[in-house]
């Protein structure tokens, strides 16, 4: 048997992605920044920088610091806000002919609903990724209230947000989960039970770097989100755990730099993957990863990407 053209299509909720390689939120801007550096039309899909109801200035600098095989960031969700996104950024994204997933975040269940409402009516958005796990913004009274740092830390809160958004939109809803929990499977189940079409994981890990001479954290936000290849083995393990606990698709994220890394996630149980930090190092990373996955499938005589998903021998 000779496989000439492997089938890379992957279905997540109502979205049919032509391949499983998506650009991750917060690392791809609004895609236009990449237009001279890669062929955006070849991407499986694009997840936007997280949008909030109102524009956000973001955190004070210093916002980033490099770590061994990774980086720490505390951008603080700097974004143009949902309305300006529709007016200024979406028209360009829509023209690419690639599914667009809007990453959204609110400070309350109601705000999640509001931002989805604003975006839901806009033509060109195929789905929503709920950023339940940004490590770099404070939730104000909420954190004092129950000591909750982010929605993704509690099953009850994950379920509340997903359920409320599910009622608001008929479009695909993906819950983005964070790694700083004791049982990722529980969180994934909570999202599934509340009506999510998929879960994506992992977001960055909350981490800290200290300037020993100043006895101060390097980041003005004190802590930040750790990303890059250093977190990959943790992400692979969590995707594997989550995939065993839910029947909805899992989207794997975490330090994917090349096709080999992406394949680990697919084999662990991810139906699709997202590429983030790698794009800072190589803006053409997504396309090269896609090419590498294709080559692997041809070499291994695998006809469709779906055949790879979750075939881990363990």
């Amino acid at each position: 048997m000779v496989v000439k053209k492997p089938n890379l299509e992957t279905q997540i909720g109502r979205i049919k992605f032509k391949n499983p390689v998506l650009a991750a939120s917060g690392t791809f801007g609004y895609a236009r920044e990449f237009e001279k550096l890669t062929d955006l039309r070849r991407l499986g899909g694009i997840v936007t920088k997280t949008l909030t109801l109102k524009p956000r200035l973001g955190n004070a600098p210093t916002r980033i610091v490099e770590t061994p095989s990774g980086m720490l960031n505390a951008i603080g969700l700097q974004n143009v806000g949902a309305e300006r996104f529709i007016g200024e950024k979406l028209p360009y994204l829509r023209k690419l002919g690639v599914p667009i997933v809007a990453s959204v975040m609110g400070y309350s269940v109601e705000e999640f609903v509001s931002v989805v409402e604003v975006l839901d009516s806009a033509k060109g958005i195929d789905g929503f990724e709920l950023n339940l796990s940004c490590p770099n913004v404070s939730y104000g009274s909420r954190s004092k209230d129950g000591g909750v740092r982010m929605f993704a830390h509690e099953e009850r809160l994950v379920a509340q947000v997903v359920r409320a958004v599910r009622k608001t939109t008929g479009k695909t809803v993906i819950a983005k989960l964070g790694p700083d929990v004791s049982d990722i499977g529980k969180m994934a189940r909570a999202a599934e039970d509340a009506g999510a079409d998929a879960v994506s994981l992992i977001n960055t890990l909350v981490a800290m770097v200290i300037d020993v001479k100043k006895r101060r954290p390097v980041l003005a936000n004190k802590t930040g989100g750790l990303s890059g290849p250093c977190i990959r083995p943790i992400a692979v393990r969590m995707v594997w755990e989550a995939a065993q606990r839910v029947s909805i698709p899992v989207i794997g994220i975490g330090g994917i730099m090349n096709a080999h890394d992406a394949l680990e996630f697919l084999i662990a149980g991810a139906s699709a993957i997202q590429v983030g930090t790698a794009g800072f190092v190589n803006p053409n990373a997504c396309v090269e990863i896609l090419e590498g996955i294709k080559r692997f499938m041809l070499d291994e005589k695998i006809r469709s990407a779906a055949e790879l998903v979750g075939i881990l021998n363990a």
């Binding site: 600098p61 210093t62 610091v65 490099e66 800072f280 190092v281």
Partner: protein, 280 residues
């Protein structure tokens, strides 16, 4: 903006811990403007992970160079690169300095370049661009103030002299030029003009350009404000991508149109008007 695997033409030590790296790329070199920069991947492995930003020192039709200081693992690896090796480069990036060369001809202006340490290279690129094809007399309207720890670390001084521009040096230990801060020299230079009845009109045409450590740039901003002269500074901030997606290299700026906000040094900068920047 191009991403290319560039051939290393030369990588030569120019001062203790400082190297000049010349890379071959006609596309990047031809597009390079003074004050712009490139991102260079110092390693093909994941550690260090991110590219390092460097301002242009020179750019010809075929190649370009950067001058860097070995401060960590990335720049150490870079210092090991040899002619014939190749490195991933992204550039040119950002916005460069405003070319006010015509001011010298039209208004009899004086241009003051103020650089400290590895902030000096982009100013050399600027001086080169300003003086290209111009007379010796023209070059004398450009004054360069160079600051360093000591004589051995005073970068590009001879190169500036070859361009025919006036040079002033300041070192921390007094081993070359005046002892003290380079900005003190600039301050005194402007005070002399301000206090001279016959020279005061000269102030109208003065433009300042600066690149160096943050305290130096802050002092330069204060000087430019005092004498009401335009001043452009090139800032150095931690950066990941270099093309506006990571939003890491935030600089707090304020303007009448958009109010206070964070601008990205990689796309809106690294050159800003000194009056744009707001302290944290």
């Amino acid at each position: 903006m191009y991403r290319e695997r560039c051939l290393v033409k030369d990588n030569k030590k120019v001062a203790p811990g400082h190297y000049r790296l010349t890379l071959v790329s006609s596309r990047i070199a031809k597009a390079a403007r003074p004050g712009q920069f490139v991102q260079i991947l110092c390693s093909d492995s994941c550690d260090p992970l991110l590219p390092r930003p460097f301002s242009f020192l020179t750019a010809t039709a075929r190649d370009f160079s950067v001058l860097y200081h070995v401060v960590g693992k990335g720049t150490h690896l870079l210092s090991q690169a040899k002619a014939g090796d190749s490195l991933w480069v992204l550039g040119p990036l950002g916005n460069g300095f405003t070319d006010r060369g015509s001011w010298i001809v039209d208004r009899g202006s004086k241009i003051l370049l103020v650089g400290g340490g590895v902030g000096i290279p982009p100013l050399y690129h600027l001086a080169q661009a300003l003086t290209r094809g111009k007379s010796k007399g023209f070059a004398r309207n450009i004054s360069v103030f160079l600051g360093a720890r000591s004589k051995a670390f005073l970068l590009c001084e001879k190169d500036f002299k070859k361009l025919g521009v006036r040079t002033y040096a300041a070192t921390d230990d007094g081993s070359k030029g005046r002892r003290g801060l380079v900005t003190e020299a600039v301050g005194e230079f402007l005070e002399r003009i301000a206090h001279s009845a016959e020279r005061r009109a000269e102030m109208e045409g003065i433009a300042l350009y600066g690149c160096g450590p943050t305290p130096m740039l802050k002092a330069l901003s204060v000087i430019s404000k005092k004498h009401e002269v335009p001043c452009e500074i090139s800032v150095e901030v931690p950066m990941a991508c270099g093309f506006g997606v990571c939003l890491g290299c935030a600089v707090k700026v304020a303007d009448a149109r958009q109010g206070v906000r964070y601008a990205m040094a990689c796309t809106e900068g690294p050159v800003f008007g000194a009056d744009q920047i707001v302290g944290e």
